[in-house]
Amino acid sequence: MVNLIIDGQHVQAEEGWTILETARYYGIDTIPTLCYREGLTTDSSCRLCVVEIISRGRSRLSASCSYPVQEGIEVRTNSRRVRQARKIIIELLLASCPNSKTLQCLASQYGIKELRFKVEDRGCILCGLCVRMCKEQMQAGAIGFFNRGVDRRVAMPFHVRSDVCRECGACLYICPVCELQCRGPREPGDLCNGCFEAIRIDPFPSRD
């Protein structure tokens, strides 16, 4: 067993568990995720699950979904530094996918009141869940990434309908953004903040 501290609690984890798994096992539910899903391989690409890891007197941010537990480390899942990083990441994602309900809700939770980045609506956050779902669970591999960097997109090979696609809809099912659009904002870039107003309390009070 590996001993570590998460948000002040001394916990034990099995060798090979990730920090995210351990935190959730202990009911610590302050780590949001987008590209992580049980049953699929871990990509660590959305970076929303970053946590502060303190080991040997040094603190750094790392994605908890892939970081294996280590003896004696201290993890802060919701420190000011972590929240600040997540806020920027949510803002960045909203700038590329402004009407996603998932992202709007996250924005409310993290107290984001204004979108400071230039909005370019792509309707996709490139989390890659659909690609992994199709390949790993549906054994099809009908879709994949193409292009590099800012031009990266999800598509079928050569933009032609693939024979291996069975139209099972698993990609739609797992997509965190192609759902009913958030009702709140009118213009791309507007923030709904409905949940924020309704809840009125910070659901994730900082532990600093």
Binding site: S44, S45, R47, V50, A85, L92, K118, R148
Partner: protein
């Protein structure tokens, strides 16, 4: 060439026979065949020299060597005549005849072709006396000027592969690693990780089928950097010898050199070198009868910058998309094809034979306490002597730029030096006395990187430079993780706003905030270091950012949206020169009457400013 060598004794005898054949030659003319000199027509220079020698029936007395890069690229094509060591610079094919006439047949020197120091007006006859070379410590690069990279005999004659013999027959793998540890060798690819620790971890790692790999990272992609390229082109056997020694120390059976296809000469010379080494039994099964077998393959990459990252490089060799993955399980345990893998950079590998041959103690005496040995930099930008320089660690930036580099070109004032490539930072004049080593460069907000060193003068806008590097990284990001893909894109938008005068002070704050998050949360080294140019320019040149934002002014006169060209009617003589050169017809006026610029048409290309001999065109 000789057949397979089956013992160290064979190699020794072979070396002696090569050396005695070479003694027949009275003189050796070494013509630089580096990429820089290639662009300056060195191929024809060599042909002319050979033809001239043939005509004078001197071919069996004088040898012409077409070598790798000598380093002094500014002055190419370079010709050095040994044993006197006379250096001729900027040689053109038509000079061949008189060079042979006076310096090969006769013993005189042609003054016009010598290197002349601009500051003192002094001529330098010998290569080793030229300030550019005399202040360097050329452990690795020295051999570049002496050997023909396409001929293994040259390398063997210079005691090549003697380190391999020592390693295979006199040392155990543990002793080799210990030797590298005492030498204090650190990775030359940029991060500066102790090489011995890397090797130890890979040696310790258990391979499920006894296969371990060693890799050579030759995916050099920094703009303005060509150290690894020149080593591979000019001295591929040093890299190969280093890799064989490393493989023996780690217990690897197979190696790969990952080199980008933009380096065709490096690929060609490397493939030839591997073939020759294999023929001599220095590579392949049972190397020199030692019982150790190892071979190297070449993997030619497509030239993506991100493929220099270790996990992306391995993915690319495997034939997958070159994207990094998280490295919580080290590549020393699970790397290429999920087997223990050790990756080092070209320059690191080339250091290994020197350490083994000369001994770790001798090597460790060079450099500073934590950074030992030498480092090759490609000194480029607004400096007088551009080229490849190899210096002992701990030398100051000022010595590199002003003593070796000869100071600023065009007499303009120094502004900053950028080290470490696009992920490095800009260092201002006040920090020029910083000693060059891994720690100190990181402390001042830059990094050693693979060794690019770009010198900038007062005509460089620091905001524009930051924008250029962010733009480069934006193009080269693989796009996998959000902070790097989206963050760099937004940083580019903000910098675009700043250089065009649309930005507000709030955006500068946002830029800083964003840069820090991109640095802290990105998946791989590319994203984690990508904000460095922005953060370091904000740290040292924040004034310039404020000038762009608040005063809408670019002091270097680079940002087009913030400058305006006008003609001073008092100074203008009406020579029509600017009018003739203006590509958009924005200059109006008649002969011998003052001109003026139609600002609605002006594209702000600055040609009028450049061509005016009377200083009448003003940039505001």
């Amino acid at each position: 060439m000789k057949g397979s060598l089956s013992s160290p004794k064979d190699l020794n005898e072979y070396r002696k026979s090569i050396q005695s054949t070479k003694k027949k030659f009275e003189k050796v003319i070494s013509v630089c065949g580096g990429t820089g000199c290639h662009a300056q027509n060195c191929v024809q220079v060599r042909e002319e020299i050979s033809r001239e020698l043939d005509e004078r029936l001197l071919s069996d007395k004088v040898m012409v060597k077409f070598t790798g890069c000598h380093g002094f690229c500014e002055m190419g094509p370079l010709v050095v005549i040994h044993p006197a060591g006379i250096l001729y610079v900027k040689v053109s094919p038509s000079d061949a005849q008189r060079i042979i006439e006076s310096s090969v047949v006769g013993d005189s020197v042609i003054d016009e072709l010598l290197y002349k120091d601009v500051a003192t007006g002094k001529n330098f006859e010998k290569e080793q006396d030229v300030p550019f070379y005399s202040k360097q410590k050329r452990l690795l690069l020295a051999m570049n000027g002496m050997i023909d990279p396409q001929n293994i005999e040259d390398y063997i004659a210079q005691e090549g592969y003697s380190a391999l013999v020592k390693a295979l027959f006199e040392m155990s793998p543990e002793e080799i690693i210990k030797e590298v540890e005492i030498a204090g060798l650190r990775g030359r690819g940029g991060a500066g990780f102790p090489t011995a620790n890397k090797w130890k971890a890979c040696r310790r790692a258990r391979a499920r089928d006894n296969i371990k790999y060693i890799l050579c990272n030759a995916d050099e992609g920094d703009p303005g950097a060509y150290m690894d390229r020149s080593l591979l082109e000019g001295n591929p056997h040093a890299v190969i010898e280093g890799m064989i020694i490393g493989a023996y120390a780690i217990g690897a059976t197979e190696g790969f050199v990952y080199v980008r296809h933009e380096y065709p000469l490096a690929v060609e010379n490397l493939l030839k070198a591997l073939e020759q080494a294999r023929q001599l039994g220095l590579l392949g099964d049972n190397i020199l009868g030692s019982g150790f077998s190892f071979d190297i393959k070449v993997s030619v990459g497509g030239g993506a910058f991100v493929c220099g990252e270790s996990t992306a490089l391995m993915a690319s060799i495997e034939g997958r998309i070159g994207e990094p993955r998280v490295k919580h399980i080290h590549t020393a345990e699970k790397g290429l094809y999920n087997r223990p893998t050790n990756l080092n950079n070209v320059e690191t590998w080339a250091n290994v034979p020197i350490i083994i041959r000369e001994g770790a103690e001798a090597y460790a005496r060079i450099g500073t306490e934590k950074s030992r040995g030498t480092k090759i930099f490609s000194l480029v930008g607004k400096v007088r002597n551009t080229g490849l320089v190899e210096v002992p660690m701990g030398i100051t930036l000022r010595e590199i730029i002003f003593d070796i580099g000869g100071g600023m070109a065009n007499g303009k004032a120094f502004k900053a030096v950028q080290t470490g490539g696009p992920s490095g930072g800009c260092i201002p004049e006040s920090m020029l006395d910083t000693p060059v080593d891994f720690e100190r460069l990181t402390e001042v907000g830059s990094m050693m990187g693979s060794g690019g060193m770009i010198v900038m003068d007062e005509s460089t806008c620091m905001v524009d430079i930051a924008r250029y590097f962010v733009d480069f990284l934006c193009e080269e990001s693989c796009g996998k993780c959000v902070p790097c893909r989206e963050g760099l894109k937004q940083m580019r938008f903000i910098l675009d706003d700043i250089v065009s005068g649309r930005a507000t002070g709030k955006q500068l704050e946002l830029l800083k905030e964003l840069a820090e998050v991109v640095r802290d949360t990105s998946l791989c080294g590319l994203g984690q270091t990508a904000p460095n140019p922005v953060l370091s320019t904000i740290k040292y040149f924040e004034d310039e950012y404020h000038e762009h934002i608040e005063e809408k002014r670019c002091r270097a006169g680079v940002c087009r949206d913030l400058i305006e060209y006008q003609i001073d009617a008092d100074k203008c003589t009406g020579c029509l020169r600017c009018k003739a050169q203006c590509p958009v017809g924005a200059v109006l006026g008649e002969k011998e009457k003052p001109h003026h610029i139609d600002l609605s048409k002006c594209e702000k290309c600055g040609i009028c400013y450049e061509v005016c001999e009377f200083g009448a065109v003003l940039r505001k």
